[in-house]
Structure formats: C-alpha cells, structure tokens
Subunit: 387 residues, 2 copies
C-alpha cells in the first residue's frame, strides 16, 4: 500500500511538472473541456434536439477531434473537416443516385466498385508528401464521409435530410471549437515557432559562451547543463515544419501580420541546425581532450575570444528575433569574433608549433578551425535574420 502511495505521489509530481513547464497545457485542457460542455448542451436543450436528432452526435464528435493545441492546428483541422465533408457528401449523394438509377442487382455492385476505386485512389494520394503535410486529415474525412453517405444511402430514405443535418452539426461543432480556440486565451502556433527558433539560437549561444573556458581552462565540476542544451536543436526540424504549416493559417495577432514570412523561420532554423552539427563535433572534443595544456595555451586567447563573442552574438540574435528588432548589438560581437579569428590566423602564421609535436596539436587546431566555421555559420544566420 505504501508503494502504491509513493507511485501516486510520483505521478502527481510529474503532472505538476508538466503544467509548470508550459502552463498553456492546463489552459488548453480546460478549453477543450469547455468546448465539449458547450456542445453537449445541444443534447440537453429540447428544441435543438428535436430538430437535429441523433445527428447532434456529430457536433460532439467534431469538437473533440478538431480541438488542437494551437489556433493554426485547430483552423487547419476545422477547414479540412468542413471542406472534406461538403465535397465527399456531395460526391457520395451523386454516386448513390447514379447507382440507384440502375437495377436492384447491379446497384450494390456498382456502388461497391465506386467505393473501392475512390477509397484506394484517395488512400494513394495521401502518400504525396505535400498532401500528407497539410491535407492528410481532410483526405481521411473525405473517405469517411463518402463511405458513410454512399453506403448508408442504400438504407435510409430521407438521405438528403440526414445529410443536411449532419453537415450542419459538423459546421456548428467546428465553429464552437474554432471560436473557443481563438477567443478564450488563444495559443498561437506562430508564437511557438517564433519562440522555438529564438530559444534554439540562444541554446547554441549558451554552449559557445561556455565552451571556450570549458575546453581551455579545465575548471571545477560546476553546473554544465548549458553545454547539453544544444542537443534538442539537432532534432527540431520536424517540430518547426509542423508549426510553420499551422502558423500559415492563423489570422494576424500581436506583432504578426497574416502573411508573416514564416518560411524565413524555416531557413533560419535550418541554418541554426547546421551550426548545431558543428557544435556537436566540438562537444565531442570536450570529452576526449588529452592535449597538453602548454600546447592548448598557444591558441587559447583567440579561441576563447572567438567562442565567447560568437556565443554572445548568437544570444543577441536570439533577443533580436524575439523582440523583432535589427540585430545591431549582435553585429558588434560578430565583428569582435571575426577579429579574433584573424588574430588566430596571424598567430598560426608565425610558425607557432615549430619544434612541438604536431600530433598533439591536432585537436586544438581542429577546434580552432571548427570555431572559425561556426563563426561563418553564425554570420550567414545573422544575414538571414536581417532579411
């Protein structure tokens, strides 16, 4: 029993942490509850029930499926569902009437063939990458509605009447979710994308700011979590693309107009991932560093300078993105780190390693070279942000 209690406390703590990480999760859950409670009143209010009958179920259904975390995702699902229902409903009715104009024996065969071909065709179309990204849900709903209408049409006499009621309930359900989603504490995918990109660049900056000291000056075992933060940047492509797809659909809000250049964010994201790959290689050198410190010290100064200044520049770029201002402070840091890179090159020119064992110097030279590479990447990033 004590074990059970401990387990329960653990789960509770996890639940609490989930909410603290992002309080909007709590808000979203309450919003979904609200939307469903609203639509449920449909069932309770007698006049509405009498006109809709059991079709009111579709409104509940729609609210549950359409209510997504962000406004963009909800709008996307709502539009997909609405359009697909209308088109598939019309086509289903059409093929039903087409089939019923033939004889009693041929009818089910024709209907079966039409359903088979259409379902197989649409399922195939879902494999298109562009379709999958944006219209996957719509195509699924299309298959669903088409089958329900054309197949059940065989049974129901008042098919038009039922179709009308269903479409209306779905539209009402969709409308309720979209309204609740937009007007009760809206959660914008665009904001999320904006913050994600800015956070990712900040994480890269954190790493570089700490890296120089960490590599050249072997210090105490203090908190090094900032050195691991960049790892999430490596895999953020999927999340970024999803958010950009949702953000496209959102109406203007806050600082974002309707046609905000969301694609530019994807470009910035891809550049920061390029940076992150280089940083991952640098991180590898942190753990395998066995270079004698007298060799390290020869390149220490310009390298630390490069790393720290680039880190600061990245963090300033993150701030600039976040506040949507031109990254002027970042440019100053970039200039400094470029000067440090030049210094490094002149240091190397004067035959620095003459006499020492070159093998031992390889890691430091590589680190230096990668840092130059990172400076270059960051420069491209800054350009891209300026656009």
């Amino acid at each position: 029993l004590g074990e059970l209690k401990a387990k329960l406390v653990e789960v509770m703590l996890k639940l609490k942490k989930l909410g603290e990480e992002d309080p909007r999760r709590v808000i979203h859950s309450l919003k979904v509850g609200l939307a469903i409670t609203l639509v449920s009143t449909f069932y309770y209010l007698d006049p509405l029930y009498h006109s809709f009958g059991s079709s009111a179920m579709w409104a509940v259904f729609t609210v549950i499926v359409v209510s997504e975390f962000s406004v963009g995702a909800t709008l996307g699902k709502g539009l997909n569902r609405g359009l697909a229902t209308l088109v598939a409903g019309a086509m289903g009715l059409g093929s039903y009437y087409l089939a019923s104009s033939t004889g009693d024996i041929v009818q089910p065969i024709i209907l079966g063939a039409v359903v088979f071909l259409l379902v197989a065709g649409v399922t195939y179309i879902r494999f298109f990458p562009q379709m999958k990204a944006r219209y996957d849900y719509g195509l699924l709903v299309f298959i669903l509605t088409f089958c329900l209408v054309s197949v059940s049409g065989n049974r129901e006499d008042k098919i038009i009447d039922i179709a009308k009621k269903r479409v209306t309930s779905i539209l009402i359900g969709g409308l309720i979710s979209v309204l609740v989603c937009i007007f009760v504490y809206p959660i914008w995918a665009g904001d999320d994308l904006h913050n994600l990109i800015s956070k990712n660049i900040e994480k890269l900056g954190n790493f570089l700011e700490g890296f120089g000291d960490e590599y050249f000056i072997e210090g105490g075992e203090c908190n090094k979590s900032f050195l691991q933060g960049y790892k999430t940047v490596l895999h953020s492509k999927h999340a970024e693309e999803n958010l950009a797809n949702f953000a496209r659909l959102e109406p203007g809000h806050g600082n974002f107009l309707f046609r905000h250049p969301w694609k530019q964010y994807l470009k910035i994201g891809s550049l920061s991932r390029q940076c992150a790959y280089r940083i991952d290689v640098l991180n590898g050198f942190l753990n395998s560093a066995k270079t004698p410190s007298q060799i390290k010290s020869k390149l220490q100064e310009p390298c630390i300078k490069m790393s720290t200044e680039t880190g600061k520049a990245l963090k300033e770029l993150a701030v600039a993105i976040n506040k949507m201002v031109p990254p002027s402070v970042a440019e100053q840091h970039m200039t400094k780190s470029k000067i440090a890179a030049m210094n490094l090159l002149t240091t190397l020119k004067i035959g620095l390693f003459e006499g020492t064992n070159l093998v031992e110097a390889i890691p430091v030279v590589t680190v230096a070279s990668l840092l130059v590479d990172v400076v270059y990447c960051t420069d491209k990033l800054a350009e891209s942000i300026n656009e």
Copy 2:
C-alpha cells in the same frame, strides 16, 4: 486547354513515380479499398443489418481510421481503439446511471461537470511525451466514446443495447482491418526500420568512399549525388522512433522474432546520426576548399585511405545488418582504416609542415582530424551492431 493537359500529364507522372519509389504504396491503397468493401457488405446483407441497425456505421468508421500502412501501426491503432472504447463505454454508462439516480434538475449539471473534468483531465494527460508516442489515439477515442455514451445516454432508452451493438461493430471493424492488414501482403514496420537503418549507414559509406577522391583529387564534374545522400540521415530520428514503436507490436515474421531488440536499432540510428553530423562538417570543407594542392598532397595518401576504407566498412556494416550476419568483412576494412589513421599520425610527427604556412594547412588538418573522428564513430557503430 493545352496547359490543363500538360498539368494533368505532370500529375500522372508524379503519381507513377510515387508508386515506383515504393510499390507497397499501391498495395496498401488496394488493401484499404478491399477492407472497406468487405465491411460495406455489412450494410447490404439484410440479416446483419437487421441485428446491427445504424450501428454498422461504426464498423465502416473503424476500418477507415484503423487501416494504417504497416502491421504495427494498424495493430497499435486497433488495440488503442478497442481498449479505449471498452473502458470509456463502461465509464460513460456508470456516470450516466450515477447521474440519473439524482433528480431531473441536478442530473444534467452533474453529468456536465463529470464530462468537463474527465475531458480536461484526459486532454492534459495527452501531453505526457510517453503517452503521446503510444496512446495518443487511444486517449482521443476514450474522450470521444465517453462523451457519446454519457451525453447521448440522456436521450436513448435502450442505451445498453446500443452500447453493445456499437462495441461489437467496432470490434468487427477492427478485426477486418487487422486481418486484411496481416494476411493480404503484410507490410511490416520492423522490416522498414531494419532497412532504414541499413540504408542510412550505406549512405554514410557512399559519402566517405567518394569523399577522399573528391577532396584531394579535383576531378571531373561527374555525378555527385552520392555526396548528398547522407543529408536524409540527419533528420531520420523521428521516423526511426515511430517505426520502433510500431515494430514492438508486431508478431514474429521472417527473420524477426516477437521480442526482437528494436531498441538496439534506435541506438545504432543515433550513432549513425552522430557520424552524419561529422560528415556534414566534412561536406562543408568540400565546397570551401582553397588549400594549395602541394599542401594537400602531404596528407593525401593516409586520408584517402582512411576515408575509403571507413566508407567500405560502413557499407559492409550495412550489408551485415541487412543480412543479419556478423560484420567480419567490415572489421577488416576498419583495421585498414585504423592503420591509415596511425600512418597519418606518424606522418605528422616528423614535422611535415616545417617551413610551410600553417594557416593554409588548417583545413587539411581539420579534415584529417574529422576523418579520425569518423573512424572512431564507425568503430562504436560496429561494436553496437555486433551486440
């Protein structure tokens, strides 16, 4: 009109290409069509229709939603749907009876409160990363079923009867999809994962095999697509995790037993991504190479050797994974590339760059160092595959 025709031809070509890339897509589409046609016969066969009524709709519904590309994904959705329906149905009935034991005015309020709390709670739980990966669909179906049962319960008198019919139709629908999915030309997520991992390692091998010649011997502008293949490896994490989740659920098939160590594949995948990051940095040097060839030539031999042999080793590892044999040939190549790495170090030891401008040598040294790093990564990969 000519434009329209051109457009149509273009779409047709795209459709054809989609099928040629992976003929299983065509097969999957036909399978879904088959499953839906099968379940539609429910509506046509009179005795079945009379016992199920409009609940038969739920069978059609289930088939459409559950039919996924791979066996694992279909089983996952089917299990999620089945379990969630049973649990939610029972709970919905319970809360309906609980509420109806109270007065007429209090009843809707209690029911509304229960629905609100449960929906908000389950929506919140969906944010757990572990839940999201495996049970997201089940939780959605839970909300759906619970709402439909407890809310519509208010209206229907024969609620138990309806619930029984619906559960039966859903089970029948699920069974049809799963049977069609497994017994008609099955598509296994496990095979896909297996091939994906092996293909990815092969792509890395292709790059390295070509890289040495490409960097050190500036040759003709022949087909260089093999140098770009590695890029997809950078972003394969998401796909690998999904496939591993599906593969876990699949029964034994071909060379795979039921408890095949799918997690090991994720480990191998993560190591090959580490390799891919280094390769991305190497690729950067291909385009920015301005090193004089007399400096390059000093390291040319061991570097080309390292790159080619590691490339061959990776390709042999890919073959070994694919055929599930111990990678003995790969080990020979690894030994060769390690010898080349040793040679490189001794070459450097004898003061190779004495007198030359060290700045110009930096890129080559970095490339060499990265190659050593890749050799090290590959070694870990080989170890991991041996396990």
